[in-house]
C-alpha cells in the first residue's frame, strides 16, 4: 500500500504505523465521565467502506495523518494532517 504523506510525498506503508479510527481517537472527552471515556477507548465501528484512520509517519516526518481509506479496496481517497483534525484534502 502507498500513502501520500502531505509532507513527504507518496511513500510505502512500511514507513508508517497505524493506530486506528481517527474520528474516535481524536475526540477525547473532557470531564470525568467514565462512560464517555469507555466509549472513547473501547468502542469502534468497523465499516465496510470509507474509513478515516490515524497513521504515523514513523520513518519519515513523524507527522500523524488522517488517511481516508476504503476498507474493501484499500483505495486511499484523502490524506491530511491530524493536527487539523484531518481537514483539508491533500491526497
Amino acid at each position: 500500500m502507498r500513502i501520500r504523506c502531505p509532507y513527504c510525498g507518496e511513500r510505502s506503508n512500511d514507513e508508517f504505523t497505524v493506530l486506528g479510527d481517527a474520528d474516535a481517537l481524536l475526540t477525547r472527552p473532557s470531564g470525568e465521565n467514565i462512560e464517555a471515556f469507555h466509549e472513547y477507548v473501547y468502542q469502534r465501528t468497523n465499516p465496510a467502506g470509507l474509513h478515516r484512520e490515524l497513521w504515523y509517519h514513523s520513518a519519515g516526518c513523524r507527522r500523524w495523518l488522517v488517511v481516508t481509506r476504503d476498507t474493501r479496496t484499500h483505495e486511499i481517497t484523502n490524506v491530511a494532517f491530524a493536527n487539523s483534525r484531518g481537514e483539508g484534502a491533500t491526497a
Binding site: M1, R2, S12, T17, L19, L25, L26, R28, P29, S30, E32, N33, I34, F37, H38, Y40, V41, L54, Y56, S58, R62, R63, W64, T73, H74, E75, I76, F81, A82, N83, S84
Partner: protein, 992 residues
C-alpha cells in the same frame, strides 16, 4: 529409451557452445540456450520423473513455468534445490540434476504398485481410508503416505548464497515480453514514459521464439531481438529478464523475483542468487500470454505426450524433437501448426486427429498433399506404452477404432489466458464461450490486459492490442505518442471447439498431472457432494502444489460443469492468489536471516564495555553489557555480586545510554508533560529532576522515567529502553492529535547522548575529578534530584543528573555520544584508587530489586499506579491521560494485586520468579491463587534470595506468610510478605 533427440539444424541455441551436465548421475551434453528439459530431450531422455501419488512414469509436458511433471532437484549439498521445473532451468556447465519421487530408480519404481491400486487412492482417499484405528494415523499411515507421495528434498545445510531486495519505480510496468508486451513497451517507451518490461524467460519474445510466424517479412524471433535491442538502448526503459512478476498488491505495487544467478553454478562474488523486487508502477500492462490445455483421455500422461505448443517450442527454439514419429491430437486450429512445424523440421507425421468434423478444408491442405493421414471428427481414446509412448488408439467419426504407431503425441485442448495477476486483488475472471476459456474480468486499478492474456489469440491482434494499450496508457499519463506503423503480421486461423473429456478408453485420464487427479476423481467428488469448485479443489487436491493447476484447472471445471449438466460459467472458478510461480523463502527473507534478521543496536559505550571485558546480552535490539567477569570468577552471579558490593561500598560505573531520551521544548512543554504524566511537572523548578509515571488512557501504567527541567521551556525526558520508540510516538500523538494548540516541539535524542550512571558512596569524589572546576557538585550546591548542564574534562559538554536507581548516592552523566567511551575511560581512571568497577545489567537488576523499584516485570500492562504503590503520584488537581479510567471500580478494589516484597522464611531457600502465591494450608489451585512472584534476585547485600511480587490485597498483607508454589519447576517455598523496599527504606543513602 525414446527416440527423442537433437535435430541436425535449427533452433535459437548456440551450437558452438556445448555444455556438459549430469542427470541422475549420467553425463550428458547440451548447448548454450538450452533448458534442462530441452537438453534432456536432446539426449533422448523421455522419462524424467514419477508422479506424486501413483508413481507413474512421466515425461515433459510443457516448455514453460506451467510444467507439472518434469520437476528436478538441482545442484547438491547446501545448494540443493528441490522441485525446480526442468522446463525453466537454464542449462549451465556442471549442472547436476536429479529426478524426484522415485525409489529405487527412475526406471524401476517399487511404489508404482500404487498405480495398480489406483481405485484405492482416488479422490478423498486421505479422508476415507485411514480413519481407524486413530492411533495408527501418526505412527503408521502418515509416515507411509509421506514416503510414497512426495516431491523433492530441500538442502539440510544452510543456504550459502545471498538474496537481495530492491525497489523500483516506473510509469508503466509491462508484464511479459511476448509480441503484445514488446509492442506495448515499445509504444510506451517511445513516448518517453519510464517503462519496466519484465519477463520470466531469459530470452524475450515469448511465443515468437517457439513459433515460425513472420513479422514485417522476417522471423518473429528476429523481430523480438530487434525490439529488445531498441528497448535496452533507451534510458527510460529497464529490461528485466529472468524476472517473474508474482503478485499484485495495493496501490500499484508489484512483487517480482529476479533470478540473477540461477543460470550459473555458483553466483559470482558479491552477487545475489536472486533478487526480490517491489515495483511501484502508475500503470501496468499485463501481457502474460496464454497456457495450452492438455486433452483428457486414457493414459494421457505417458512420456512422449506433450502440449502441441511445447512441441513447437522444442523444435523451433531448441532444435530438439520429442520423437521421430509424431501424431497430433487437437480441438483447435492452433494444434495443426505443430504438425506443420514438425514436418518442416523433418519429423515424420503419423496422423493429425481433430475432434471437430467441420474443420476448414484449407487447414492442413499442405499436410494432405504430403499424404499425411487426417482424421476429422475423431478422438484419441487411449495411449499405449508404459515408460514411453508406443501407439495411440483413434476412434474415427464412424466409431471405428484403429491403432497408430507413434513415439510422440502433440495435444492441444485450446489456450487459457493467463489471468492470474488480474485476480490477486479479488477480480474474478469471466467465462468466454468463444474462447472456450476464462478471460480477465474486473482488473486491479491501473492495469490493462493485452494479447493472448486478453483473448487476442492471433499474432496480428496481439501486436495491435499491445500497441493500442501502450499508446492509451502513455496518453493517460500525459505523454505524447507518435504514430508508428504497426508491424505486419498475419491473423492465422485460431478457432477452437472445446473437447473436455474423451471417454471410452481404458485407463486413467489425467486432469491434474501433478496431483494425479483423474477425470474419474472429479466425477466422484461431484457425486459425493463436493460440487462447488472450492470444495472440489480441496477434496481432490486438484490445482495444488508447485504448478497451482496451471494446466489443469480449466479442464477440471469444465468436467465438473458437464457432470453437473451446467454451463462452465455457472460453475465458476477458484481465484488465483500470489505467487504466480513458487518463490523461494530465501528470496522473501533477503538479507534478514540469522543475526541479520533485524539490526543490532550498539550503545555509544559499547567499545568501552568491550575493553572492560563485558559479557554482552541481547536485550530487544540492543546488545548490552550484562556483567564484567574477572579472573577467578566462576559464573555470572559471582561477577554481578562483586559488582553490587563495589557499588554499595565504593563506586561503580554503568552504561544507561539505551534509555529513551526525548528533548521537549516550547512555552507549553510543561503543560504537555502535565497531561501525559500522572504527576505534575509544571511545578518542577529549573535545574531539577523528577520521577514520572505515564498511564495509558485505559488507566494502566504505560512507562516510567526521570524528566528534568533544564530551562523554563526546556525539558529532557527519559523513557525505559523498551518503550523509547512507543513513547515518542505517543507524545507526538498527544500533541498533534489531541492538543495541537500547544506550542511545543520535541525530538528523540536517544542516539545523540551517551549516558553513564556513577553510583556508590564514592561517586561524588570520583566525579569531582573529571567535572570542570567552575561547576560545584558538592551536596549543598548539587543536592539529590539536581539536573544541570555542566562541562567535564576541560570543556566537554555534559548534563549531570543527581538521580539514583541503585539506591546509593549516584549520578547520571550525559555526554555527546561520540565522546562517550572516552569519558567512561576517564571516569574509570579517575576512580581507580577509589575502587571503581564497571557494572552491568545483572548488577543493576539486583540493586533495583533490593531497592524495590519496578521494571518491565511489574509494569506489564496489567498494573495500575496504585497496584505498584505509586498511587500517591496521581494528581487530583489536573487532567491527564488515564485519569478517568484509572478510577473504574475494578481498578480500585482493595483486593487488587499490589506490589510487595517477598523473602523466604528459611533464609537459605531459593525462590523463583513465576511462582504462584498460595495461602498456607490451601491447595495449589487456580481458585486459591493470590498472585505471583514478578522478580527475584540473590541479594549479595543481604546474602539471601529476595523477590518482588503482586499479591491480592497488596500492602495490607505485609508481615503475613505465604507459599510460593512453582508447579513447573516443582518448588514450594514458604515466604514472608514484606515492604518491597528491602534496602535503605528511609532513602538516607541517596542524600549522602
Amino acid at each position: 529409451m525414446s527416440s527423442a533427440g537433437r535435430l541436425p539444424t535449427g533452433g535459437l541455441i548456440d551450437r558452438a557452445r556445448p555444455i556438459q551436465f549430469r542427470f541422475d548421475g549420467r553425463s550428458m551434453s547440451g548447448f548454450a540456450g538450452d533448458t534442462l528439459a530441452s537438453a534432456l530431450i536432446g539426449n533422448g531422455v523421455g522419462l524424467v520423473g514419477r508422479s506424486f501419488k501413483y508413481h507413474r512414469p512421466r515425461g515433459i509436458l510443457s516448455a514453460g513455468s506451467e510444467e507439472p511433471n518434469a520437476l528436478a532437484e538441482l545442484r547438491s549439498g547446501a545448494r540443493r534445490e528441490p522441485n525446480t521445473r526442468a522446463t525453466t532451468v537454464e542449462l549451465f556447465d556442471g549442472l547436476e540434476a536429479q529426478s524426484q519421487n522415485r525409489w529405487p530408480s527412475l526406471g524401476f519404481d517399487i511404489l508404482a504398485l500404487n498405480g495398480l491400486a489406483g481405485g484405492f487412492l482416488s479422490a478423498g482417499f486421505y479422508y476415507k481410508t485411514f480413519m481407524w484405528p486413530a492411533a495408527f494415523w501418526e505412527k503408521v499411515y502418515e509416515p507411509l503416505i509421506r514416503r510414497a507421495a512426495g516431491l523433492g528434498r530441500s538442502a539440510s545445510a544452510e543456504d550459502p548464497d545471498h538474496y537481495d531486495k530492491a525497489h523500483a519505480h516506473c510509469d508503466i510496468l509491462v508484464i511479459g515480453a511476448g509480441p503484445a508486451g514488446l509492442m506495448a513497451a515499445l509504444t510506451a517507451a517511445r513516448s518517453g514514459a519510464r517503462v519496466i518490461l519484465a519477463d520470466e524467460d531469459s530470452l524475450p519474445g515469448g511465443r515468437l521464439n517457439g513459433e515460425r510466424h513472420e513479422i514485417d517479412g522476417r522471423a518473429g524471433s528476429k523481430w523480438a531481438a530487434t525490439a529488445t535491442a531498441e528497448l535496452a538502448a533507451m534510458p527510460n526503459v529497464r529490461l528485466m529478464r529472468r524476472t517473474t512478476i508474482f503478485g499484485v498488491y495495493d496501490g500499484g505495487t508489484y512483487g517480482a523475483v529476479e533470478r540473477v544467478n540461477d543460470h550459473v553454478a555458483v553466483p559470482p562474488p558479491f552477487q545475489p542468487r536472486q533478487r526480490m523486487w517491489r515495483i511501484y508502477a502508475r500503470r501496468a500492462i499485463l501481457a502474460a500470454g496464454a497456457l495450452e490445455r492438455p486433452l483428457v483421455f486414457a493414459n494421457n500422461d505417458r512420456p512422449g505426450i506433450m502440449l502441441a505448443g511445447a512441441v513447437r517450442s522444442y523444435i523451433n527454439r531448441f532444435g530438439v524433437t520429442p520423437g521421430q514419429r509424431l501424431a497430433v491430437f487437437t480441438c483447435s486450429d492452433n494444434g495443426w501448426r505443430a504438425a506443420a512445424d514438425a514436418a518442416a523440421a523433418g519429423v515424420s507425421i503419423e496422423a493429425v486427429i481433430d475432434s471437430r468434423s467441420d474443420v476448414a478444408p484449407a487447414l492442413g491442405a499442405d499436410l494432405v498433399a504430403r499424404g499425411i493421414r487426417i482424421f476429422r471428427g475423431a478422438q484419441v481414446i487411449r495411449a499405449l506404452g508404459s515408460r514411453a509412448l508406443q501407439a495411440i488408439e483413434v476412434r474415427d467419426h464412424t466409431g471405428r477404432v484403429s491403432s497408430i504407431l507413434c513415439d510422440a503425441l502433440a495435444m492441444s485442448g485450446g489456450w487459457s489466458p493467463v489471468t492470474h495477476l488480474t485476480s490477486h486483488l479479488g477480480g474474478r475472471p469471466v467465462w468466454s464461450e468463444a474462447h472456450a476459456a476464462f478471460v480477465p474480468g474486473t482488473l486491479p486499478p491501473g492495469m490493462s490486459v493485452v494479447g493472448a492474456a486478453n483473448g487476442a489469440m492471433t499474432l496480428a491482434r496481439a501486436l495491435a492490442s499491445g500497441r493500442d494499450a501502450g499508446a492509451r496508457t502513455a496518453s493517460d499519463l500525459d505523454r505524447t505518442v507518435s504514430d508508428a506503423p504497426l508491424p505486419k503480421a498475419d491473423d492465422e486461423p485460431a478457432s477452437v471447439r472445446a473437447l473436455w473429456h474423451v471417454s471410452g478408453g481404458r485407463g486413467p485420464a489425467f486432469v491434474d498431472f501433478q496431483n494425479d487427479v483423474t477425470a474419474k476423481d472429479v466425477g466422484l467428488a461431484n457425486r459425493e457432494g463436493y460440487r462447488s469448485v472450492e470444495l472440489l479443489k480441496r477434496y481432490t487436491t486438484l490445482g495444488m502444489a508447485t504448478d497451482q493447476g496451471k494446466t489443469s484447472n480449466v479442464n477440471a471445471l469444465a468436467i465438473l460443469a458437464s457432470e453437473r449438466a451446467q454451463p462452465v460459467a455457472a460453475v465458476g472458478t477458484t481465484l488465483n492468489r500470489p505467487p504466480y510461480t513458487p518463490v523461494a523463502i530465501g528470496a522473501l527473507a533477503g538479507h534478514h536471516r540469522g543475526k541479520d534478521f533485524r539490526a543490532t543496536r550498539l550503545s555509544p559505550l559499547h567499545e568501552w564495555a568491550r575493553e572492560q571485558g563485558a559479557a554482552f546480552i541481547e536485550s530487544g535490539a540492543w546488545l548490552r553489557a550484562s556483567w564484567f567477569p574477572r579472573p577467578g570468577e566462576n559464573d555470572w552471579l559471582e561477577s554481578a555480586s562483586r559488582e553490587v558490593r563495589a557499588v554499595r561500598s565504593a563506586v561503580g560505573l554503568t552504561d544507561v545510554s539505551t534509555l529513551g531520551k526525548i528533548d521537549i521544548q516550547g512555552p507549553d512543554a510543561a503543560t504537555l508533560l502535565d497531561r501525559v504524566y500522572c504527576n505534575t511537572f509544571s511545578t518542577l523548578q529549573v535545574g531539577r529532576a523528577r520521577y514520572g509515571v505515564m498511564l495509558r488512557e485505559d488507566g494502566f501504567v504505560m512507562d516510567d522515567g526521570t524528566t528534568s527541567r533544564l530551562a523554563a521551556d526546556h525539558f529532557v525526558m527519559t523513557t525505559t529502553t523498551a518503550n523509547a520508540v512507543g513513547i515518542m510516538r505517543h507524545l507526538e500523538f498527544c500533541h498533534q492529535g489531541l492538543w495541537p494548540d500547544l506550542d511545543v516541539q520535541m525530538a528523540s535524542v536517544s542516539e545523540q547522548w551517551a549516558q553513564l550512571a556513577i553510583a556508590g558512596p564514592k561517586s561524588r569524589e570520583t566525579l569531582t575529578r573529571i567535572v570542570d572546576r567552575q561547576h560545584d557538585i558538592s551536596d549543598a550546591a548539587f543536592p539529590y534530584l539536581t539536573a544541570r548542564e555542566i562541562t567535564v574534562l576541560g570543556g566537554t559538554r555534559a548534563r549531570l543528573f543527581r538521580i539514583s536507581y541503585s539506591g546509593e548516592l549516584a549520578y547520571e552523566l550525559a555526554v555527546p555520544a561520540g565522546v562517550g567511551s572516552a569519558v567512561a575511560s576517564a571516569i574509570m581512571e579517575a576512580g581507580k584508587d577509589l575502587g571503581i568497577q564497571p557494572y552491568g545489567l545483572e548488577a543493576m537488576g539486583i540493586m533495583r530489586i533490593e531497592k524495590g523499584h519496578v521494571a518491565g516485570n511489574e509494569i506489564n500492562g496489567q498494573t495500575t499506579a496504585r497496584d505498584l504503590g505509586l498511587g500517591k503520584m496521581m494528581s487530583r488537581k489536573k487532567d491527564y491521560i488515564g485519569r478517568v479510567l484509572a478510577e473504574r471500580p475494578a481498578l480500585v478494589t482493595p483486593d487488587r494485586w499490589g506490589l510487595v516484597g517477598l523473602k523466604p522464611v528459611d533464609w537459605t531457600s531459593r525462590i523463583r520468579a513465576g511462582a504462584h502465591l498460595i495461602p498456607i494450608g490451601a491447595a495449589a489451585t487456580t481458585a486459591n491463587d493470590l498472585g505471583y512472584v514478578t522478580s527475584v534476585a540473590f541479594s549479595p547485600t543481604f546474602e539471601r534470595w529476595i523477590g518482588l511480587g503482586l499479591i491480592s490485597g497488596g500492602a495490607s498483607k505485609h508481615g503475613t506468610r505465604i507459599r510460593l508454589v512453582d508447579l513447573l519447576r516443582g518448588t514450594d517455598v514458604e515466604a514472608e510478605v514484606c515492604d518491597p523496599v528491602f534496602y535503605d527504606p528511609k532513602g538516607e543513602r541517596l542524600h549522602g
